[in-house]
């Protein structure tokens, strides 16, 4: 995908959008809580990737987590801009930023956790089936389903500790990003 973007293939840009737009827009919306701001962040994130196809370095993580981190950075930037305009005080904005960071870390953790744990979490909390049904769907015992859910949630809960989970490593290396 990265090579195709670098080659300037418009079709690759469309595929990139089709694959990641709901992640980018969803995350941006979660941070900014505003449709227009989320649209704007989405434009900026895809614009940045398209203009800088070489900015992503596969050795530091998946394309998905990189895009998620870019989005979070850009969305937080937007949110801070509102600090000067919106009715909420600086404390409120910083609280939102902390919340947004936890949300983004959680997304990163979910996308990078072992597939069996992720599948269990998705069944239980996205599809909202109980653990018996989840066990049946996953083809494992109920005890195993419970164990996976607990492990998955434990991993996820580390997103709530400030600094408890290191940032995706490329952040230290890549200072380029949308303004």
């Amino acid at each position: 995908m990265q090579q195709r973007l670098a080659r300037g293939e418009e079709a690759a840009l469309g595929e990139l959008y089709d694959r990641y737009a709901s992640l980018v827009h969803g995350l941006a919306h979660r941070v900014t809580d505003d449709d227009d701001a989320a649209d704007q962040v989405t434009r900026e994130v895809f614009g940045y990737i398209w203009e800088n196809p070489d900015a992503y370095e596969p050795k530091y993580g998946s394309l998905r987590s990189w895009i998620a981190a870019l989005t979070r950075r850009q969305a937080v930037h937007r949110l801070r801009q509102y600090e000067h305009r919106g009715p909420g005080g600086p404390d409120e904005v910083e609280a939102r930023v902390r919340e947004a960071n936890a949300a983004a870390r959680a997304d990163f953790i979910v996308t990078s956790m072992p597939a069996p744990l992720r599948a269990a979490l998705e069944l239980a909390y996205r599809e909202r089936v109980d653990y018996r049904r989840a066990a049946a769907d996953l083809g494992v015992s109920e005890d195993e389903a419970r164990r996976r859910l607990r492990l998955g949630l434990q991993m996820l809960s580390t997103a709530m500790e400030p600094g408890g989970r290191p940032e995706p490593p490329f952040e230290q290396h890549d200072r380029r990003g949308p303004a």
């Binding site: 300037g8 293939e9 418009e10 959008y17 709901s22 919306h29 979660r30 649209d39 398209w50 203009e51």
Partner: protein
């Protein structure tokens, strides 16, 4: 009981409950389908594409993305929901399908366009289940079954092909049908981008008839839109018409296909208006087709032979219609005699042209 007594576990239970709140429900958010065009436009403004998607392929690209977004919003509970498809075959025809069958129909007929480009017609044959495009294990195993089931080439006739495709794929989960279709749409857009002008000399073989490549590609965009709106209507979902710059290409396509459709109906003895033989390139009689609204315009449809020159001077009839009504007519959703159209001039000519428009719905 244990939780109430044990502080450590109660603490953990609380933390884990909070953690549930962090799970990101990205799929539940409806993305505005028009955002795609705005985002891509913004990107291309910052850095022009070196390998652009041809103008005539962009309606297909956009319509496939819109249908995919609809299917994503619907989720996996709708694959067997009934959808009524309508077309016009001398008289209105209406058949019941499922959402899954409609997607199989689109995949099968889109495959004919791929076939003319030399893309393998087996859909999943070169699909790599370990690749990142395949979302989960269920889809991957479906693809492997698909690969095992699809031996020989499918029939070329669009409906025969649809049923052959469906027979081979009916056991696949809906999510797999969707990714087979979507993967093919992406592959087609990518291939025509690389082929550029090179595809313009190709014809697409639809069994009983063939279309020049660009017309066929635009026709697939038209079908994608129409069937997406069939699905949306069946599940009571809002679905907008294509963006005006895409709609105008689709209206233009239907208007340009009219002379040939009219000639075919004339040969089959299905017309009533008087005909005159006119050599290709010579001036003949015409019907002025005035399409109003988004994507509209003016066309002079040659009446005597598809190759005749149609001009204002030879005009014997004038039809005015809204662009969406015209598309509904060409899709076979509106009967020619009931189409809301302003009509002036030769009644028999107008009737024949409106019936010819409805007969375009054979795909």
């Amino acid at each position: 009981m244990h939780l109430a007594e044990c502080v450590t576990c109660a603490d953990e239970a609380l933390r884990l409950r909070e953690a549930v709140g962090l799970l990101h429900r990205e799929e539940s958010l409806d993305l505005d389908p028009l955002l795609r065009a705005r985002v891509l436009e913004g990107c291309l403004g910052r850095r022009p594409a070196r390998i652009p998607v041809p103008e005539w392929a962009s309606p297909y690209d956009a319509e496939a993305a819109r249908l995919d977004a609809l299917l994503r919003d619907l989720g996996d509970g709708y694959w067997t929901a009934p959808v009524r498809l309508q077309w016009f075959d001398g008289a209105p025809v209406s058949r019941q399908f499922t959402v899954g069958q409609v997607i199989a129909h689109l995949t099968a007929v889109d495959g004919l366009v791929g076939r003319s480009l030399g893309l393998p017609g087996k859909g999943a044959a070169e699909y790599d289940p370990s690749g990142e495009a395949v979302p989960d294990a269920q889809v991957a195993s479906g693809l492997l079954r698909h690969r095992a089931a699809m031996g020989d080439e499918l029939p070329l006739d669009p409906w025969d092909r649809t049923w052959a495709h469906w027979a081979a794929n009916r056991h696949l989960p809906g999510a797999t049908l969707r990714s087979l279709w979507r993967e093919q749409t992406h592959r087609l857009v990518r291939t025509v981008s690389f082929a550029g002008e090179g595809s313009s000399g190709l014809d697409v073989d639809f069994g009983n008839f063939a279309l020049p490549f660009r017309q066929a590609f635009l026709d697939r965009a038209f079908e994608c839109w129409i069937h997406a709106s069939d699905i949306a209507e069946a599940v009571d979902y809002p679905y907008d018409p294509p963006a005006p710059r895409h709609l105008s290409q689709l209206v233009d396509l239907a208007a340009r296909m009219l002379p040939k459709a009219l000639a075919e109906r004339r040969r089959a003895g299905l017309t009533t208006s008087a005909s005159r033989l006119v050599a290709a390139g010579s001036p003949g009689r015409s019907l002025r087709l005035e399409i109003e609204g988004d994507g509209g315009g003016d066309w002079y449809v040659p009446l005597d032979s598809p190759g005749a020159l149609a001009s204002k001077e030879g005009m014997v009839a004038h039809v005015a219609m809204d662009s969406l009504e015209f598309c509904q007519l060409a899709a076979g959703h509106v009967e020619p005699e009931r189409a809301a159209a302003g009509q002036v001039g030769d009644r028999a000519v107008i009737r024949d042209v409106l019936f010819a428009a409805a007969s375009l719905s054979r795909l």
